[in-house]
């Protein structure tokens, strides 16, 4: 039956909430907070689950929660201590309950007997409950809380129904009954009671008593009439929890015993009740004057009451639809905004209002999809607890910013990477208590989870105060796994070394434990964060701990973008990828863009930025290879020169004409490149629409959108474009300035016409002049006799992507110091030898012999390492 199904779903949802809450409370217990509050809360949760499970015939859920309840009862009465072993058992019970809920339909087939037995053993009483009847009949109890949450002006009743008879004589099903009751009041608790050990499914000749705790504004006789019960089957419970009538239903089953493990707050006489919750002033419920504000208990009353009153479950697809409608409205608003640039002040005012309302509407709808990150943080208490017990460590989890809200989709996608990071911290980051004490730290390790808003992003941090990341081990590992060569490692800065752990196939754990390092590496963390449009960074201080920092967008549905033009068409560049915009004018274009082999480079504050022309990538269907890139660079260089000539000649004839070139500096992780565009049109908040399935595979686009003027703009995929052009983006910004020869004496020379080259003087033995006729060939190798020694000749253009030297009648041979076999490097032109202070930049392309690039005497200069050029290192 459909209603029954939806009731079941509601029960499921509610029970999940209870279980989640219980988990947190168990962890509180373990921390030593066994206040009656906490225990009572757990008790209530288990109890509610147990109660409702009976209603749906969920025998195993009932049995298990009953066994747990017994343990909790002993705990509360002080007969048991909440030690680790007991909590392990309770948590195991909780996990099993969650497993049962995951497959509710077959839950009755699960075997939970062993666990139930252990729980009962722990509770200190082997129970004689029949295996079929999972829970014993017991009194419906009224707790202080129940009374407290009864809305002011309501009467509280206990209703006793005989379900069997009700069904038989009035053909009223329990579901219909509940609906009926809900139509004029509120159900607080329900309990199904049977007499004797009967199977529920066999039908119950003796009747099945269903007791309901119910509140309504109606008087007792009206309630009785409303549900067609004899008046004596409706018991009114007074303001202090007293029974106004202790009459059972006329044909009630055999006397019900008050089970020993029932909640020990049975319908209590007034003085006792007040004692049991001294902190709470419980106002008389039936008094209509009671002020809702003065209900301290209602805030943390049973979750059921709160869920019903403050929350509404909405189907996700409706939210999605609402979201896209809001998106459409934004588009209409944008179109209107563009039209209304006229002088009509009244019209403008209205449009401004529309603008405000639309923005607010959009924000509000966005917020419906938002969930506090605390929901995710909370689960880590449990993860860490289990891990630390396994690892023999003592770890505490702290969190801040639990209330920070994130889009549901992002939040869900964040769980796995966060779990991975937290596991890593527990497993590798934090030390044993002994180790920690030895290094002067508190024995308890701490993992801090933080979330905050900043600059339109959500920032999430996982920090531990463990041993930090051993950079030497990372280095060794990268070498061992063949991820980097020694030379490459040599050039990496401290931070870059840390970033190596994000490489696929990297794992520093000496041995793979079953906790972390099961094949999912930090590279997965990185890629899943990046898939969300986020960035992950790692910082670590040896001995003090590690901090992983993630920056995430608020939502994926609406993104601020820059609209650019290329080939007369509008494109959107997500702001998240956009670092800055650069426009060069006139001579700057010629002077500041350098062509180095197959790369076009712009020097941006010490960083060498490879340039990609959007129009060219759009117009070229196939991806670029080395040759295509070279052709492209050459073509652009020629075009620039020709253009400049043209402009100069026109200017000389009196025309005022300016020349500019714009590019967007785009980032992918730590890498950057410049995307040359025709024009910048502005910025807009765009609603991302997925690409049609027939063009979804295209790497250049991540979606499409309709701009404010109704134009379609394709959303560019920043990574896809760089892949299409094939430019290497290993732009390590702070590469090893320390290891390079900073401020040393350099030889500046040229080989091909384009690049200026340099070598540290201390690496050079001497320089000799030679003529082409001096060069002899042996096979495909070239030699020259220098001071009587046959010396092998190396040409740079054979080893690197550099320009070809023009034919010349004179060469220079640069002989390196300490060469194992005699060899020399050919140079076409010597420029200077001198003391140069400089900073090395990351080369836009990698070569073992390239120490880096820098700017000397106004030119881009490649600094070479002769050692790596030697013939034995081809």
């Amino acid at each position: 039956m459909a209603e029954e199904r939806s009731l079941l779903e509601e029960f499921l949802e509610e029970s999940r909430e209870h279980l989640a809450r219980m988990e947190l409370d168990f962890l509180l217990l373990e921390k030593g907070e066994h206040t009656p509050d906490v225990i009572n809360r757990i008790f209530r949760a288990v109890h509610t689950v147990k109660g409702s499970s009976g209603f749906f015939g969920l025998v195993r859920v009932g049995g298990l929660s009953h066994a747990m309840e017994s343990v909790l009862d002993s705990l509360r009465e002080g007969r048991l201590q909440a030690d680790g072993a007991l909590l392990d058992l309770l948590l195991e019970g909780l996990d099993r309950l969650q497993a049962l809920f995951a497959d509710l339909e077959h839950s009755n087939e699960f075997d939970t007997w062993d666990l139930e037995e252990r729980l009962r053993d722990a509770a200190g009483k082997k129970s004689q409950i029949s295996p079929i009847l999972a829970f014993e009949p017991q009194e419906s109890e009224v707790t202080a809380e129940t009374v407290a949450v009864t809305p002011p002006g309501h009467h509280l009743y206990r209703l006793n129904f005989d379900i069997t008879r009700m069904e038989r004589e009035r053909s009223l099903s329990p579901v219909q009954l509940i609906e009926l009751l809900q139509s004029f009041g509120q159900i607080h608790d329900g309990r199904l009671e049977t007499c004797g050990n009967q199977r529920l499914c066999e039908g119950l000749p003796g009747g099945l008593l269903y007791r309901i705790l119910f509140s309504s504004v109606l008087e007792r006789d009206l309630v009785a009439h409303g549900v067609q019960l004899p008046e004596n089957a409706v018991e009114e419970i007074g303001p202090e929890g007293t029974l106004g009538s202790d009459l059972g239903p006329g044909d009630s089953p055999p006397p019900l015993t008050l089970a020993s493990h029932a909640i020990p707050t049975p319908p209590a006489p007034p003085p006792e009740l007040k004692e049991s919750s001294p902190a709470r002033a419980v106002p008389p419920v039936s008094a209509p004057s009671a002020d809702a504000e003065s209900h301290p208990a209602s805030k943390e009353g049973p979750a059921t009451a709160r869920t019903e009153q403050d929350f509404l479950k909405v189907r996700l697809d409706i939210l999605d639809r609402l979201m896209s409608l809001a998106g459409e409205l934004v588009l209409v608003r944008n179109q209107q905004l563009m039209r209304e640039q006229s002088s009509d002040t009244e019209g403008r005012r209205i449009v401004q209002q529309l603008d405000l309302v639309t923005s607010e509407l959009q924000e509000t709808i966005l917020r419906t999809r938002m969930q506090p990150i605390g929901n995710v943080f909370a689960r880590f208490s449990r993860v860490v607890r289990d891990l630390s017990r396994k690892l023999g460590k003592v770890i505490e989890v702290k969190s801040s910013g639990d209330e920070v809200e994130l889009d549901k989709n992002i939040l869900e996608a964040l769980i796995d990477p966060l779990t991975h990071i937290v596991r890593n911290s527990c497993d590798h980051g934090l030390e044993n208590p002994e180790e920690r004490l030895a290094s002067g730290k508190p024995a308890i390790g701490t993992i801090t989870l933080r979330a905050w808003h900043e600059g339109g992003h959500i920032h999430v941090e996982v920090q531990d105060d463990g041993r930090g990341i051993d950079r030497e081990r990372v280095r060794a590992k990268a070498l061992e796994k063949g991820l980097k060569t020694p030379e490459e490692l040599e050039r990496l800065g401290e931070n870059d070394i840390l970033n190596l752990i994000f490489l696929p196939g990297f794992s520093t754990a000496a041995e793979v434990s079953d906790l972390s390092g099961r094949g999912v590496g930090m590279d997965v963390v990185k890629s899943s964060i990046e898939a969300l449009g986020g960035v992950v960074e790692i910082r670590s201080t040896p001995g003090q701990g590690t901090c992983q920092h993630m920056r995430l967008p608020l939502t994926l549905a609406i993104i601020p973008s820059m609209i650019v033009q290329s080939l007369g068409q509008a494109f959107a560049l997500p702001q998240i990828n956009l670092e800055e915009l650069v426009t060069l004018y006139d001579e700057e274009i010629l002077e500041h863009i350098e062509s180095a082999g197959s790369r076009e480079i712009y020097r941006l504050r010490g960083m060498l930025l490879p340039l990609i022309h959007l129009s060219e990538v759009l117009e070229t269907a196939e991806s670029f290879d080395e040759e295509a890139r070279q052709r492209s660079v050459e073509r652009h260089r020629r075009e620039r020169l020709a253009r400049w000539e043209e402009i100069r000649s026109r200017r000389s004839s009196g025309h005022v004409e300016s020349w500019s070139l714009s590019f967007a500096v785009l980032k992918i992780g730590n890498a950057r490149y410049g995307l040359v565009i025709d024009r910048i049109l502005g910025t807009e908040e765009i609603v991302v629409k997925p690409m049609h399935r027939a063009v979804k595979e295209l790497p250049l686009y991540s979606g499409a959108t309709v701009l404010g003027d109704g134009q379609i703009a394709l959303i560019l995929d920043v990574q896809g474009i760089s892949r299409q052009f094939g430019v290497s983006l290993e732009t390590r910004t702070e590469v090893a300035v320390d290891t390079a020869a900073c401020g040393s004496r350099l030889l500046l020379f040229r080989n091909g016409p384009q690049e200026q080259l340099a070598m540290p003087l201390e690496t050079i033995a001497r320089i000799e002049e030679l003529r082409p006729a001096d060069i002899e060939r042996v096979g495909n190798q070239e030699f020259v006799a220098l001071q009587g020694v046959s010396t092998r000749i190396l040409r740079l253009e054979d080893r690197m992507e550099v320009s070809q030297p023009a034919a010349s009648d004179r060469h220079y041979a640069i002989l390196p110091r300490g060469a194992t076999s005699p060899w020399c490097l050919l140079a076409q032109e010597l420029i200077d030898i001198g003391e140069y202070g400089f900073e090395l930049d990351t080369p836009s392309f990698e070569h073992a012999a390239l120490l880096g690039t820098t700017r000397l005497r106004g030119h881009l200069t490649l600094l070479l390492d002769p050692q790596a050029l030697a013939p034995e290192n081809p």
Partner: protein, 160 residues
């Protein structure tokens, strides 16, 4: 995708929205058509397959448009004032349409007169390339009093 073939049992009539491409008459089942628009300024999708003419914004919804001239290997031509885009219903595919030279009347045909596409290649003046393209897209050929009508299957238009 032939399970979608909308051909009715013999003897039923079928309403066909007809249009011209390079002078020839084509048609699609009217029940598949959502609307016909004069808006033909397509936004190109670079790197997409040749037949993809571009994208079109119809009241905030982005449609992919197939250029049928390209699809049928007719010489390319820029849209003119006669050109139209026929948009299909969501049941056919994600939002998409076809760019045609001009639309004509709605024609009612008797589905029994529909000749199976493999036999009905009466137009000998098509190149083999054109014939191949047609085979995948055409449901059949229907002889009208004055000319032949090629009935297209919109379901297959976006198949690779």
């Amino acid at each position: 995708m032939n399970e979608h073939v909308p051909v009715e049992p013999n003897g039923t009539s079928l309403q066909v929205a007809t249009f011209r491409l390079e002078g020839r008459l084509f048609g699609v089942d009217i029940r598949k058509v959502k609307e016909i628009t004069e808006e033909t300024r397509l936004v190109p999708v670079h790197h997409a397959a040749a037949g993809i003419g571009g994208m079109l914004n119809i009241r905030g919804q982005i449609h992919l448009v197939v250029d049928l001239r390209v699809e049928f290997r007719f010489p390319p031509r820029k849209p003119d004032p006669q050109s139209r885009v026929i948009l299909f219903k969501p049941s056919v595919d994600e939002p998409f349409g076809v760019l045609v030279d001009a639309v004509e009347d709605i024609v009612e045909i008797d589905s029994s007169t529909l000749v199976d596409r493999r036999q009905g290649d009466a137009n000998g003046d098509l190149s083999s390339d054109q014939r191949r393209a047609r085979r995948n897209l055409c449901l059949g050929v229907c002889p009208l009093p004055r000319e032949l009508l090629l009935l297209l299957n919109p379901h297959n238009l976006l198949e690779p």
